[in-house]
């Protein structure tokens, strides 16, 4: 499995060096700048509680990271297939599952880059309030698990779909469906249906966890169940990815 390190290195370098990779980070920084400015102004004008602003900024960072994950994940196999680089890779002594692991690791690396880039923005929004450190900690943990979940599923999809367009459209639809429950109002989310959707949706699970840590200042004991659910989804995503890449058709 020595080749795995080579593949991971190549995928990570590609994330940074390639023009597509760098463009994502540049756009990401632009988006974070706009939102942080908006949230800081609202906090200064006392329109928004500081903890609430930190929570909202964390949610925006996670949403941005997941959007990048879904786009990059969909491109993982389907994009390489279209650019005709997949065949060159698969004729070497590497297994498709090895390539998938390398790509998933690169997606996690990409999230860590986004996380590092987001530190000054989150600091600017929440430096005057409390719970900033737990916000960073839980953002890192929840973000990493969510990237494994969304990255795993979209890479699996990408391995099975013939075209990037197909993989991307399904991936983005799934991402929007997962994101939609948070658009429900607080009363709707407290209903039975809202609770069920929140429970089975890893995205909502992560945001609820951040909410309880940052806004409600709840301790680690209260986070065990949502963390366990996220870990369960992560394992399921890796299992699906492994199944989907047993044999990759060109």
């Amino acid at each position: 499995m020595r080749y795995l390190i080579t593949l991971i290195k190549k995928e990570c370098v590609e994330e940074i060096i390639s023009s597509r990779g760098a463009a994502f980070y540049l756009v990401g920084c632009g988006v974070l700048s706009v939102f942080s400015l908006l949230l800081v102004s609202n906090t200064e004008l006392s329109l928004l509680d500081n903890a609430q602003a930190v929570y909202m900024m964390s949610a925006i960072i996670i949403a941005l990271a997941l959007l990048i994950t879904v786009i990059r994940g969909s491109d993982g196999f389907a994009g390489e297939r279209e650019r005709e680089t997949l065949e060159t890779l698969l004729i070497t002594p590497v297994s498709p599952a090895g390539v998938a692991i390398a790509k998933l690791m690169a997606l996690i690396f990409s999230w860590w880059v986004v996380f590092i880039l987001s530190i000054p923005y989150l600091w600017a929004v929440g430096s005057t309030g409390q719970n900033l450190l737990p916000a960073f900690q839980y953002l890192w943990v929840a973000g990493t698990l969510l990237v494994v979940i969304f990255g795993g599923f979209t890479l699996a999809l990408s391995a099975r779909m013939k075209t990037l367009k197909g993989a991307l459209s399904i991936g983005l639809t799934a991402f929007l469906l997962c994101g939609s429950p948070i658009l429900l109002g607080p009363s709707l989310r407290q209903s039975t249906v809202g609770r069920i959707i929140d429970l089975i949706n890893p995205f909502a699970e992560a945001l609820n966890m951040l909410d309880s840590v940052v806004v409600d200042s709840l301790g680690v004991l209260f986070q065990i169940v949502p963390l366990a659910i996220l870990v369960f989804y992560s394992i399921a995503a890796i299992w699906v990815l492994n199944k989907a890449t047993r044999r990759v058709e060109l």
């Binding site: 020595r2 080749y3 080579t6 390639s18 005709e84 680089t85 060159t88 070497t92 990759v248």
Partner: protein, 303 residues
């Protein structure tokens, strides 16, 4: 010694038969031409041999391994130049070779990269990213990549695509040298019959999902004729009857005689003529016979 053996290979896609009862054998040291029209199943066969595509029926053995079971182990000992090989455009040629070398467990030093690039006629000092390379340069880089692990068996899909005549000749010479010095077995899938004539000793013609012909390149075995033009120092010395089995004179014009050679190897035919004292000063192959063989086997059905 057999390095590749296929027996009754069958493969269908969505019920459509792509390969039907394919059998072929490649021996160590062969340069084997794998010919066939577009869509005849050459690339599918190649992918099955590499273990990246499963076959439906039949037996496949490459270096005594089953590609569908031992794919990764097998691919350490063989290499391929696929027809459509994409490149990571942001890499430089040296980084590209180093990356693929590492996938084969090789740590290529700068000198190794230089040697590999030099051998295919690329400038080792070129630091441009691959996306700026011409098609011919990319083809050369692809060939360099396919030789990285010093493969026992090398599959080349249209290896001289995009190369100029000089480049083609250089690649021919390189392949012949590797075949001669390292006894590297080469399987070439191509439409360029000149490549096959210059390089291959055995061929297979695939058409309508079946192997139509497999055997030595030269026509004698296939029963087809090769046309030669012989030049004589003096038109008075051209014999009216040749009395050499397998050679029939078709036309005499001035100092030139056009003959057909059939059922005998052309080299042997020329030797016999010289031994009989027929004063030939020059022999020009008019057609190798391969084109006519190829066309005769692939004439029926769709292209």
């Amino acid at each position: 010694m057999k390095v590749l053996k296929i027996i009754s290979l069958k493969k269908s896609f969505d019920g459509k038969k792509v390969l039907e009862d394919i059998s072929m054998t490649v021996y160590r040291g062969d340069i084997y031409g794998f010919l066939g029209p577009n869509g005849s199943g050459k690339t599918t066969t190649l992918r099955i041999l590499l273990g990246i595509l499963c076959h439906d029926e039949g037996k496949v053995a490459v270096l005594n391994m089953d590609p569908s079971l031992d794919g990764e182990r097998l691919r350490r000992r063989i290499n391929v130049l696929p027809e459509s090989h994409g490149f990571y455009g942001w890499m430089r040629a040296k980084d590209y070779l180093r990356f693929f070398g590492q996938l084969y467990g090789l740590q290529l030093a700068a000198a190794d990269c230089r040697m590999h690039l030099d051998q295919v006629g690329l400038d080792p000092a070129d630091r441009r990213p691959i996306r700026t390379f011409s098609r011919g340069m990319k083809q050369r880089l692809g060939i360099a990549r396919s030789l990285l692990n010093n493969p026992e068996l090398l599959f080349l899909d249209e290896p001289t695509n995009g190369l100029d005549p000089k480049g083609r000749r250089e690649i021919h010479d390189l392949l012949l040298k590797l075949n001669r010095e390292k006894e590297m077995t080469v399987v070439i899938s191509t439409h360029i019959l000149d490549d096959v004539e210059r390089l291959c000793n055995r061929i297979a013609i695939l058409h309508n999902s079946k192997i139509q012909y497999e055997g030595p390149l030269f026509a004698p075995v296939t029963g087809k004729s090769i046309r030669y033009r012989f030049h004589f120092a003096d038109d008075k010395n051209i014999p009216s009857t040749w009395n050499v089995p397998g050679i029939s004179c078709q036309e005499i014009k001035g100092q030139w005689a056009t003959c057909e050679i059939k059922d005998i190897h052309p080299d042997k035919a020329l030797r016999l003529l010289v031994q009989k004292g027929i004063p030939i000063t020059e022999a020009i192959q008019v057609n190798s016979g391969l084109e006519s063989i190829y066309l005769s086997y692939t004439a029926s059905g769709k292209a």
